[in-house]
């Protein structure tokens, strides 16, 4: 196809210094190297598109450059028509001062320069660039009125419009929202989405809420990138595209490569879903090289990467269906639990597998947490009172994005950051150190009391084991929760019926009648099947809506759930699978290695 793509946006020179950590206020951190590299959202996307074989009409404004480097270096590409690029020698080209720590992210200070002077009148003059193209990409790193002008023109000509949201600080939320109407797709990262919808986008659920709000403003598709993942929200619902795990050099330009490749795919008549998968692949490739444009792949390289790794990057269809999402992602967590324990050669599979559906639902659907900001104020908190199920917690934290999946293989290893039982000082996302049974509920009460005093909406979730009910402190705490009317405490009892020395009844009869016991302690008791997501979700809803008393969800579970030969077996309480068992277990879970 030779239809052109118009890109209206910014040009910058990126001055990039790579450091180990981000400097705090007043702190000076030495960097190893400095780079002067071409950048700017508009230019990045133009380069991405051109390298993927599409003709680009590039509309932007530059000035003079008094630093080494050439902002236009990569724009001088046979596929890019620079006839619409305005150079005003009285202005300076935009400069982005980037402090990057590689994987851990960037901090950018931006001198807008000539970008700020790209005016609606310039767009009027560059009308042909739009009329001549099949798809129009508008970036918001230029004045909002200019972006509006470009979109209006594109709409008038009936073009497909891709709105690439970025650099929102200082812009009015409403002005940006007004750009959405009539666009085919609006692309942003989770920070920008959060800015537009005034909420922290911490997982797919919150992303979905933001997506719905933006849809209401007249865009057909909302795409929110969250690290390597992307979330699509449109009238059909929401879908998640997990992306590709690669060795990240820096994340600069990842979003632009994503948007560029997505646009190319769309211009070729691909579905939005296919376009996002393609975008994810391009985004991953760019992060493997330093700078925004240096790693932008050409068509052959991207197609090769995409083909080789498309299974891994494939999206989960029907993501709006929370149940299916949970099923899919929890199966992955079960796989990870088995793999982790295989690596560590010790640990507790039985109780991790019995609790995982509940832990997964909490982190992927229920709790208000921010993986990028694990200590977020007013977050919901989670205490794994049965701390030996740590693998369940760790794999949920990884899946939710608190740390990379690779870290899971460090379970129980020295200096690995994943202690045999949860350690809040070592692992991001762990709200409380646990391991010695019987203590979690008291701690939950303390956190809940603090939340009440602080006027915080924070809810405290605590999972206890059934054997743990034999600890006296549980019942001390049960009285406290009721006495203080801690309706922000939600306890979950993982009732799998087994403990180390045998079945609960054999070791010490007297646990039953359990429901009546908790009722007698004045708790709101909810009984569910702990592996049924519908029931789990409903129970959390019902607990949240119960005012004036704490709630306990008594979840009937199966120890070792999901692995046939581990189910209901006392032996798998605290024994890791052998290599042979690991292989069999993974096969059962549909994972061959």
């Amino acid at each position: 196809m030779d239809a052109k793509i118009a890109v209206i946006g910014s040009v910058n020179l990126d001055i990039l210094v790579k450091t180990e950590t981000m400097p705090e206020r007043g702190e000076t951190i030495p960097g190893d190297d400095v780079y002067f590299l071409p950048g700017g959202k508009g230019a990045n996307q133009a380069v991405a598109i051109a390298r993927l074989g599409k003709k680009v009409n590039f509309v932007a404004k530059t000035g003079t450059e008094e630093v080494p480097g050439d902002a236009l270096k990569n724009l001088k590409h046979p596929n890019i028509d620079l006839g619409f690029l305005i150079t005003d020698k009285s202005l300076k080209t935009g400069i982005a001062l980037i402090n990057t720590t590689g994987k851990k992210g960037n901090k950018v200070t931006w001198y807008t320069g000539a970008n700020k002077e790209l005016l609606p009148a310039d767009i009027e003059k560059a009308k042909n660039a739009i009329e001549d193209s099949s798809v129009v990409v508008v970036c918001t790193e230029i004045p909002v009125a200019t972006a509006k002008k470009a979109i209006d023109l594109a709409k008038k000509c009936g073009k497909m419009i891709v709105l690439s949201v970025g650099a929102l600080t200082g812009k009015k939320r409403e002005d940006i929202m007004a750009l959405l109407d009539g666009t085919f797709v609006t692309v942003m990262n989770e920070k920008e989405g959060g800015y537009l919808s005034n909420r922290v986008i911490s997982h797919m659920e919150t992303g979905n809420l933001t997506g719905k709000e933006l849809l209401a403003r007249g865009t057909k598709n909302v795409v929110i990138t969250m690290g390597k993942e992307a979330l699509l929200v449109n009238e059909k619902g929401a879908e998640v595209f997990p992306g590709y795990g690669v060795k990240v050099e820096d994340t600069i330009g990842g979003g632009d490569a994503f948007c560029g490749a997505l646009t190319v795919a769309l211009s070729e008549g691909k579905s939005i879903q296919d376009a996002i998968e393609y975008g994810n692949a391009a985004g991953a490739m760019v992060t493997m090289k330093i700078g925004a444009q240096e790693g932008m792949p050409d068509r052959a390289a991207l197609d090769k990467f995409f083909k080789e790794r498309s299974v891994e990057g494939g999206h989960y269809r029907d993501y709006n269906d929370t149940i299916k999402m949970l099923e899919k992602r929890t199966t992955k967590m079960r796989v990870n639990i088995i793999k982790m324990l295989g690596c560590s050669k010790s640990g507790h599979p039985g109780g991790s597998l019995s609790a995982i559906d509940i832990v997964s639902t909490l982190y992927l659907h229920v709790m208000n947490v921010d993986p990028k900001n694990p200590k977020m104020e007013n977050r919901d908190k989670f205490i794994l009172s049965k701390g030996h199920a740590a693998p369940a917690l760790y794999t949920a934290l990884a899946e939710a994005g608190f740390f990379p999946e690779e870290k899971l293989w460090q379970l129980r290893k020295i200096d690995g950051g994943l202690s045999g039982h949860p350690d809040m000082k070592k692992t991001p996302g762990v709200d409380m150190t646990t391991g010695s049974l019987g203590q979690g509920l008291s701690i939950a009460n303390g956190m809940a009391l603090a939340a009440k005093l602080q006027g915080s909406p924070s809810r405290i979730y605590v999972i206890m084991g059934d054997g743990e009910m034999q600890e006296g402190q549980i019942w001390e705490a049960a009285m406290t929760s009721h006495h203080r009317r801690l309706d922000n405490v939600c306890a979950i009892l993982d009732y799998n019926g087994l403990q180390i020395d045998g079945s609960i009844g054999e070791v010490k009869s007297g646990l039953e009648p359990l429901v009546e016991k908790w009722k007698a302690f004045n708790w709101n008791v909810i009984e569910i099947d702990g592996h049924n997501y519908e029931q789990i979700i409903e129970a959390f809803e019902s607990a949240k809506n119960t005012k004036g008393s704490p709630s306990i969800i008594i979840a009937r579970t199966v120890k070792g759930k999901g692995i046939s030969f581990m189910e209901r077996k006392v032996e798998y309480h605290g024994v890791a699978p052998t290599p042979d068992e690991e292989a069999r277990a993974l096969k059962e879970l549909g994972c061959e290695n």
């Binding site: 350690d423 409380m432 150190t433 010695s436 008291s442 939950a444 009460n445 303390g446 603090a450 402190q473």
Partner: protein
């Protein structure tokens, strides 16, 4: 000297600071009248939690409060604030290094008539053994007040503060400033070093007076911070006097005497005598009678100090007449 109860001052200080520190919360386990935290409860009912007779739950709840950014003080008798919830303190407070302040009262045998079930003489030992935990035993109500004030903004670690039931003489004035790991030289001397902690300070000072009459110059060090302990001061003083005597209202196993012995045996072995509960349980009785019977008196310090002067070690240069007073 005026006598005041440090626990009364503890309660009053909490009330006073409650106005300034809005995050200050106080927990008790059904002993709020005795520990005096009830005063805080009256002043700030929404920030006071009587947990009932459930010390393990109290410590866990305090840990949760600290993890959520509050400043929790948890109080009960020393016996029930250290022994009963030891494992909760170890695993839910000290291991995650949460800044919970465990302020116990009624430590030692001076609880008196309640008898050995209530006489905590092992608490410093078991608290001292926990990593991250700090252990402090103030001597009077002024030191208690300054310590509590200091702890309001201290968040580096959990702290165990040991108060007693009985009224004690006021030794310090308002210029007192608390610091972890710092001993306080109360009196300079060259023949023997007496190191005390908690309310034993007044007895140590009185013994030093008696020793002076015998021509023996005793250096008296008050060691409120039993952990971390002031190694430098101990070693410097021992170098000077060549003899060290410790006194604590606690077992000689694991408390101040042990801590001093640990320092000296590694850094500067000198003659050492530990006065304390000698691996036995005490009994019911008035505090005075118990102190008399178990050796927590100036007379007993005098006796032990004189005994230390006796053998023909090179040690003290002057007065030999001390030998006479056996």
């Amino acid at each position: 000297m005026a006598k005041t109860a440090m626990r009364v001052v503890y309660g009053e200080t909490l009330v006073r600071l409650g106005a300034k520190y809005k995050n200050l919360v106080v927990l008790d386990a059904d002993l709020a009248k005795s520990t005096q935290t009830g005063k805080f409860g009256k002043a700030y009912p929404d920030r006071f939690f009587d947990m009932g007779i459930a010390e393990q739950d109290m410590i866990g709840t305090a840990a949760g409060l600290a993890a959520a950014g509050m400043i929790p003080f948890a109080s009960t008798f020393a016996m029930f604030g250290s022994g009963r919830p030891w494992e909760q303190i170890r695993n839910s407070v000290a291991y995650p290094n949460l800044p919970v302040k465990i302020v116990v009262t009624h430590a030692g045998i001076s609880v008196g008539e309640d008898g050995p079930t209530h006489q905590a003489c092992e608490d410093m030992a078991i608290m001292r053994a926990i990593p991250n935990m700090k252990v402090v035993a103030p001597a009077d109500s002024v030191e208690t007040e300054k310590l509590i004030e200091f702890l309001m903004t201290y968040t580096d670690s959990p702290v165990y503060v040991r108060l007693t039931r009985m009224n004690t003489e006021v030794v310090f004035d308002s210029s007192y400033k608390f610091e972890f790991g710092k001993g306080i030289k109360m009196r300079k001397g060259k023949d023997i070093t007496i190191i005390s902690t908690g309310i034993m300070l007044t007895i140590a000072l009185s013994a030093a007076e008696m020793l002076k009459e015998k021509g023996i110059s005793a250096e008296v060090i008050h060691m409120p911070s039993v952990k971390p302990i002031d190694e430098k001061m101990i070693v410097a003083s021992a170098k000077n006097t060549g003899k060290v005597l410790t006194i604590e209202e606690h077992s000689i196993i694991g408390g101040l005497g042990s801590a001093v012995a640990e320092v000296l045996s590694e850094k500067l072995p000198v003659k050492l005598k530990r006065i304390g509960m000698n691996d036995i349980f005490a009994e019911s009785g008035t505090p005075e009678a118990l102190f008399e019977k178990y050796g927590f008196t100036d007379k007993n310090i005098l006796k032990e100090a004189l005994a230390m002067m006796k053998p023909g070690k090179k040690a003290a240069k002057p007065v030999k007449k001390s030998k006479k007073n056996k």
